[in-house]
């Protein structure tokens, strides 16, 4: 009995030719099958609805079958190897994808930023010099700074305000749903909504809400998005605030509810006012959450593209780095400037990365 078990265990310690064949065949088979399906979809002229359903089925079952088959092969391995390889099967796809589509591209973009428009000649730091002297690009940098500072501040402050107010109001759920709702709207749709609000037509009858209000107050109607620069940027930032405050609010609200009630009650006993309690007790307790939310919104705002593209197309002095990037890359076919702008964005985020890794280390997550 014992001896038989030992032989069995020893047998499982070795790689048989069958196992090696399987380890090669299964990944290849996966690759082959999915390439075939991919080609089928590219060539097929199926009706849209049918096509969509098939694509969805392929996407969902495809990813499951890849993990399932790879794991099945590893399960056949000897125990020691099984333990060693399984983690890599689990992390592998994530690491490969991130490597191919995010990590390496970042390095390649950095490399491209030292080359000329069609990436044939090394130009050193000339692109960076150009980016920081070109008038349009400088405007873009200035506007981006405006977006990040004003937009983020407004989102965080309003988010906190609504979260605190909602916590004490008698219609909390409704208020939260209303403020959060714009999150579910695309920037493109929001662009339509706000274009309509800012709409200007000559004459007395205005169909844009803002101009109608202005006329009621006795002022002249304005073309809000093209008039007095750089204030038109503010009207674009309002859209971001409208959309992102809900995100900040939901997370702050959850954090505020997590503050122990007796802590607040004790402060109240000591005669502290509500405003004092907010600044002296609530804010310090949720400071970690505030940092997390601020980071998310800063990163999001740095990349801002859709709003500007839809509302003004980057005209009238409203260009930001991302729209300028798009214009350089696709209109002027200048990969050098395009890459440089992307790298400028990346450099701008570095302090935010450092701050967050520190926070993670403090929290013991790393």
């Amino acid at each position: 009995m014992d001896a038989g078990n030992e032989i069995n265990v020893r047998g499982k310690q070795r790689f048989t030719p069958r196992l090696i064949l399987l380890s090669i065949l299964v990944p290849l088979l996966n690759l082959g099958v999915h390439t075939l399906i991919f080609l089928f979809f590219r060539e097929s002229g199926l009706p849209p609805m049918f096509n969509a359903l098939l694509a969805v089925i392929w996407g969902i079952f495809g990813i499951y079958s890849i993990y399932f088959t790879l794991n099945w092969v590893v399960e056949q391995y000897p125990d020691k190897w099984k333990e060693r390889v399984t983690p890599y099967v689990f992390v592998g796809p994530a690491v490969l994808l991130l490597g191919w589509l995010l990590f390496l591209p970042t390095l390649r973009t950095l490399y491209l930023s030292f080359f000329n428009a069609d990436s044939t000649k090394f130009v050193g730091l000339a692109n960076f010099g150009a980016v920081f002297t070109d008038r349009l690009l400088l405007t873009a940098l200035r506007n981006n700074l405006m977006w990040v500072v004003i937009g983020t501040l407004a989102c965080v402050i309003l988010g906190l305000l609504v979260a605190v107010l909602a916590d004490r109001s008698s219609f909390e759920r409704l208020a939260k749903a209303i403020v959060f709702m714009p999150m579910a709207i695309s920037f493109v749709a929001a662009g339509v909504i706000w274009k309509f609000i800012y709409y200007y037509q000559p004459g007395d009858e205005q169909i844009g809400l803002l101009n109608a209000i202005i006329i009621q107050l006795g002022f002249q109607p304005q073309g809000w998005l093209s008039m007095v620069q750089p204030w038109n940027n503010l009207f674009l930032i309002v859209i971001l605030v409208w959309m992102q405050t809900g995100f900040a609010m939901v997370i702050f609200s959850a954090a505020i509810k997590g503050i122990p009630e007796d802590m607040l009650e004790a402060a109240r006993m000591d005669g502290a006012g509500e405003i004092r309690i907010f600044f002296k007790i609530m804010l310090p307790v949720i400071s970690g959450t505030v940092l997390a939310v601020t980071t998310t919104i800063i990163v999001f705002t740095l990349k801002i593209f859709d709003v500007v593209m839809i509302m003004t197309g980057g005209q009238y002095g409203t260009e930001v780095v991302a729209t300028e990037f798009y214009r350089q890359l696709f209109m002027y076919q200048n990969a050098g400037y395009g890459s440089t702008l992307a790298i400028v964005l990346l450099i701008a985020v570095i302090p935010v990365i450092i701050l967050n890794v520190r926070q993670l280390q403090k929290g013991g997550n790393l």
């Binding site: 399984t86 191919w100 004490r168 997370i251 985020v349």
Partner: protein, 365 residues
């Protein structure tokens, strides 16, 4: 999970409600304007603001006065025994409760108007038909002329969006959950290094990756294909989803795995039978996020999918509408509302998971 404690009533209640109420109204008005405009006829949208739908006091013509055809417009014009300059009649002049205004200056007819309660209540669903279908439609313009216009066929973009969004939501969540499980509970070489890289990639602006990926995609023939855009959305969403799922999965009790291991379950079984069911709240909330981001995305699809009608997604077709027919508000508003419906439905359906999942995950602080 924490029990919801009813906050005790505090002072300043009415003030809190008032301020919050004002904020809510301000937040809701833009969407309301869009919704109302999308069901108004094209001609009405261009002539009166959407708020005229709400009953309000407005001037309504009660009678007309025909003046002598030869009335000299350069001199003060006599109407009902009083005389007014031409300019005043153009803008409308108030006499007691009534207002006098030219109905037709050339034919010398003057409208006598009185303030009455009224609202413009012309509603139509034609905007939606035009936007969803691909056929031609006849639209009556404000000046009375009839114009045919081509429908924008958003029905097709809707299905394209589904084909892009559903896999782009499921695939990254699947991949990220596997990775998060390995990062949280398995021991392997390079665990810490990989994890730090993933966290660092969390804040890399995706613009940085666009040019190289575009070159690879062109070389591989992935441009304008569903598979290509799935991979792009997956990679861009992975860092956040992995981090989020890691937070949730690493908080599960350790003895859970140990007893399952004792029973001889493999990691794959533990993952699919134990981890996934236990992480449903976290999965649901990150699902909403990724779904909303991908559904609302414009830049990634603009670059990797392009705007051919066979693959065009909703955000793209609205953006094209804005570009090509920027003042056709009846089409724009209807199209925008169509694109909002699905994400709003998903959001409200999964709302309760959303807050719960966030509580267990990213709000650790």
């Amino acid at each position: 999970m924490r029990k919801k404690v009813k906050a005790p009533r505090r002072k300043g209640h009415w003030l809190v409600n008032l301020i919050l109420g004002i904020i809510c109204v301000v937040w809701f008005i833009p969407t309301l304007g869009l919704l109302i405009s999308s069901v108004r006829p094209a001609a009405d949208i261009l002539q009166t603001g959407w708020w005229t739908v709400i009953p309000h006091r407005q001037w309504e013509t009660v009678s007309q006065i025909k003046l002598d055809r030869d009335t000299d417009l350069r001199k003060p014009i006599e109407v009902n025994g009083q005389s007014f300059p031409d300019d005043q009649l153009k803008a409308g002049v108030e006499v007691g409760d009534q207002r006098l205004i030219w109905e037709n200056r050339r034919a010398r007819t003057v409208d006598v108007q009185e303030k009455k309660w009224g609202s413009s209540t012309n509603f139509t669903l034609q905007n939606y038909e035009t936007v969803l279908g691909g056929k031609e439609y006849k639209i009556t313009q404000p000046d009375g002329t009839v114009q045919t216009e081509q429908g924008s066929g958003m029905g097709r973009s809707f299905w394209n969006t589904i084909a892009v969004v559903v896999p782009s939501t499921v695939i990254p969540i699947f991949i990220a959950s596997f990775a998060a499980y390995a990062f949280a509970w398995l021991k392997f070489k390079g665990r810490k290094a990989f994890f730090i890289v993933v966290i660092a990639l969390l804040v890399v602006p995706l613009q940085v990756a666009l040019i190289p990926i575009l070159r690879d995609y062109t070389a591989l023939g992935l441009n304008g294909t569903y598979f290509g855009i799935w991979m792009a959305h997956t990679a861009f969403g992975l860092p956040l989803i992995t981090y989020f799922m890691y937070n949730s999965i690493s908080q599960l009790p350790k003895d859970l795995f140990e007893s399952a291991f004792m029973d001889g379950a493999s990691n794959f079984t533990i993952f699919s039978k134990l981890i996934l069911p236990l992480s449903v709240p976290a999965l649901a909330s990150i699902c909403i996020f990724q779904f909303l981001w991908v559904w609302n995305d414009y830049l990634v699809s603009l670059i990797f999918l392009g705007s051919q009608p066979e693959v065009q997604v909703l955000s793209m077709s609205i953006a094209n509408l804005v570009g090509s027919r920027g003042s056709d508000w009846h089409l724009l508003t209807a199209a925008a509302f169509v694109s909002m419906l699905t994400p709003l439905a998903v959001f409200f359906a999964l709302q309760k998971y959303f807050v719960r999942g966030l509580l267990g995950g990213s709000v650790k602080g």
